[in-house]
Symmetry: C2
Subunit: 179 residues, 2 copies
Amino acid sequence: MPRKPVARDAVLDAFEELLIGVGERAATLDAVAKRAGVSKGGLLYHFPNKEALIAAMLERLDSLAGEDIALMAAAPEGAATYFIRTSLWSGSPMDRSFLAASRLAEVAHVEARRRFAAIQQQWLDLIAADVGSGMAKAVLYMGDGLYLNAMWEGGPASSADGRQGDVEVLLAAVERLRG
Amino acid sequence: MPRKPVARDAVLDAFEELLIGVGERAATLDAVAKRAGVSKGGLLYHFPNKEALIAAMLERLDSLAGEDIALMAAAPEGAATYFIRTSLWSGSPMDRSFLAASRLAEVAHVEARRRFAAIQQQWLDLIAADVGSGMAKAVLYMGDGLYLNAMWEGGPASSADGRQGDVEVLLAAVERLRG
DNA sequence: GTCTATAATGGGATAGAC
DNA sequence: GTCTATCCCATTATAGAC
């Protein structure tokens, strides 16, 4: 079994952290290398160009999203409730991966947008099975809106605590829409 | 009464169009000048640097948002219904201005985020007066989610027609939450 | 496998002609 | 008021040493 070099994962982690923390524009190869504790040359040994770095990050997102979908499908409180609760930043690897990828989707990165659409569709299907197809999109969009506002507010760090009340409001709304 | 040069408005329009169409990263001064049909030097006569260009765009957003808030407050169908309906891209100057500014908010532009927060708060207040404070955020976030998904889908052009059905779903949801 | 140069490109901004 | 020419710097990427 081939063992991936640790530097590789450190670089991916650093890239995600920078995308989330300082935005796409400032997540340069220089900054990523510095944060990961490797030289730029070392970074480019593992990822021959920036697109390769992005592709690897999106692969990781797909893998984590698959795990999340499975958890959502098996959630005892129901898929819709699970979805709303997890729309808020919790710092999980999935959260980080998703948020980092969203920075790329925002600047019109085609592949990032494609993956997002696929994940959204899977979420929608599970929510529809839970609350009915009529109101599924309403629930999906509520969660997305919560996510969007947390991001606009100024990054994930500040938002988690302040928006817990919003989650309760949305959960109450979900109950009214259920059926 | 001083008459603003036409080139100035052409530059602002071009900047908005590029932000929406190709993203923040590709909306360079070169690209803006070319699209507006002026030279880079000509552009920099009207806007001494890129921040000045952004500031002028945000001023226009504020002005248009003020008009929209007034329409929403006076809407006969109610603020919540008006809000959901207008969450979908219609190509109005307000839509363009809002979307362009959101490209800046996405890359963590501080002033753009500040303006957004202010507009969101005004929307929330009007929705709360319409459907009650308990469910106001649910309605606000539904509209925001609709907006976010239309953007992820690949720009405004493709989304307007395909998401009209989503608007009907959300309007039905608003009726269930009202009261 | 990781480093230090360094090349090549492109974006923001200035100077000065017209 | 608009243009061309040019400078400076950041960023991506390459070459080759260790």
